[in-house]
């Protein structure tokens, strides 16, 4: 029972600590794309973390804001909508595998909260429940903007779910399993055998559909600020508004994880299979620690070069020292320790854990890259018009998905 709770809690904490980070990344990234500085004001004794404290300040602000429930809303559904949106967003990651399963005392130990044999179907089912939150919010707000946002959003999510399902089917034909772990293993460790190269059309369709399902630009018609104020969450304030926001980012993380799992080999380290990692665990740990030591030192020295006395004339001057000096020291310590210790000799269990850690780190790097991809697209492309959006979903993606299915079937038959 304790293991079950830990398995649930740890990914949960990772994902919910990624949300403020992603909000920071979105604000900072959009700022650099638009050639401005982005958030950099909020400070705590001069510590700004490059604007990351803004996310923390936002949370405090939102929690202590007045909790307005307007008189004209349908109260039960009005309260249920953000609850449903966040709950549904929280439960989807249960079947995501974070690393290759290991064996402890002969018993298999998986790095996923629930080892369901319907894996991907569970994710699809839970993710599509998200439409209820949006629709209830739109209807119960009793506001024309919200209603329009709600119906638009539900129509859009329904339309793109078909394209998403169709693109998945060709991937499943190649992979031959619904379990995400098996799908990842079947892709192998070489990047050219990953599904984004063997199934390029499916990758394109799935990514587009994922953007539409998460209501992100260029498909953010439900929120369309310029026409619908804020769409379905116009009448929401304080933490209830933030809950829709958190649900959206949780969906973005989930969609990134799915793209990584299905098309980019999930936790597979490029060119290094699980067996290879386990065999070379001692050497791998040595290289990993040394590389981190050097990386910390370089990052610390890079930060220290920014130090200029009297730049701001207050505590903010010393922020780079607060981060730079410990980084350099930690990097120096780590490198020296590794060099003096020499090669590592790991037990079989230790080498399995090492392989799992490296795979976990690779998977997180892939997820972060696709989260950044979502942000990148949002601040690069303009928004679709609604008829274009529905036309793309029904007239382009659906036939493309069917054709891709037929071609995949024929290729599999010919082999």
């Amino acid at each position: 029972m304790l293991i079950i709770i830990l398995k649930i809690l740890i990914p949960f904490l990772i994902i919910f600590n990624m949300i403020p980070f992603l909000i920071w990344l979105e604000r900072k990234g959009s700022a650099y794309i638009q050639d401005r500085h982005g958030p950099n004001r909020a400070a705590f004794f001069g510590i700004r973390l490059g604007g990351m404290l803004h996310s923390l300040a936002d949370v405090l602000k939102l929690i202590t804001k007045e909790d307005i429930i307007p008189l004209h809303v349908h109260k039960p559904f009005y309260l249920l909508a953000p609850f449903l949106a966040l709950t549904v967003a929280c439960v989807t990651y249960a079947v995501v595998p974070f690393a290759h399963p290991i064996e402890i005392n002969g018993e298999p130990f998986t790095f996923q909260a629930a080892d369901l044999n319907v894996g991907i179907l569970y994710i699809l089912a839970m993710a599509s429940l998200g439409v209820y939150g949006v629709m209830l919010a739109g209807w119960s707000s009793n506001n024309k903007y919200s209603l329009l946002g709600g119906v638009r959003s539900s129509a859009q999510m329904l339309s793109y779910e078909i394209a998403m399902g169709l693109s998945l089917i060709s991937v499943l034909m190649v992979g031959g399993s619904l379990e995400l772990n098996n799908l990842v293993i079947s892709q192998g460790a070489t990047p050219w055998s990953w599904n984004f190269l063997t199934q390029p059309v499916a990758f394109f369709l799935f990514t587009t559909a994922a953007f539409a399902e998460t209501n992100r630009n260029p498909f953010d018609l439900p929120e369309g600020e310029s026409e619908l104020v804020a769409g379905y969450h116009t009448e929401y304030s304080s933490m209830k508004f933030a809950m829709f926001f958190m649900a959206e980012y949780a969906h973005v993380i989930m969609a990134s994880a799915l793209i990584a799992l299905l098309f980019f080999g999930g936790w597979q380290v490029p060119l290094m299979s699980t067996d290879f990692l386990r065999e070379q665990a001692g050497l791998g740990l040595y290289i990993l620690l040394l590389a981190h030591g050097i990386l910390f030192m370089v990052a610390g020295i890079f930060l220290l070069t920014w130090f200029k006395k009297g730049k701001y004339g207050d505590l903010r001057d010393y922020e780079v020292l607060v981060w730079g000096i410990p980084l350099v020291l930690a990097g120096l310590g780590l490198s020296l320790y590794t060099l003096l210790h020499g090669s590592f000799d790991l037990t079989p269990l230790g080498s399995q854990i090492f392989a799992a850690v490296v795979q976990f780190m690779t998977f997180m790097a892939k997820i972060l890259f696709f989260c950044w991809f979502f942000i990148w697209i949002r601040w690069t492309l303009p928004r679709f018009r609604y008829d274009q959006l529905m036309g793309l979903g029904w007239k382009v993606m659906l036939p493309l998905g069917l054709m891709n299915l037929a071609v995949t079937g024929i290729i599999l038959l010919m082999r």
């Binding site: 609850f83 024309k144 339309s159 031959g176 116009t234 209830k240």
Partner: protein
């Protein structure tokens, strides 16, 4: 088999508590004022004309109906897709593929009909 769903149940309870806590926290910690303009519809914008409980475009219903048709088709495809490789390995690949192709062709005929009837046009 059913025991593998225990973590899901725990997770649902956990996620529900988490979301409920957020609802509770903002209700508890926020300042409370009585009788203000925030209670009105779209408080900071123009006064609304008429209510929001009006009829909206029938297109949205059409999309929902088409969704059910095509999504059921996708659901039918899932088990077929999983077993396709096995059938190919056993030499039954062509038979299984043609069976599904017949099903898809019937569906595509319906799709063309819907397209020709302009049910997919949005205007």
């Amino acid at each position: 088999m059913i025991s593998s769903y225990v973590p899901i149940l725990v997770l649902f309870v956990f996620a529900g508590l988490f979301a409920g806590a957020f609802l509770g926290i903002s209700a508890l910690l926020g300042p409370k004022k009585k009788s203000h303009a925030g209670d009105s519809i779209y408080e900071c914008g123009p006064a609304p004309v008429g209510g929001a409980r009006e009829r909206f475009s029938v297109k949205f219903f059409l999309v929902a109906i088409l969704f059910i048709l095509f999504d059921i088709e996708v659901v039918f495809l899932f088990p077929w897709a999983i077993l396709f490789r096995q059938f190919v390995n056993e030499g039954m690949g062509l038979f299984v593929f043609v069976e599904m192709a017949v099903f898809l062709v019937i569906l595509v005929l319906g799709y063309i009909f819907v397209w020709r009837k302009r049910a997919l046009d949005w205007r």
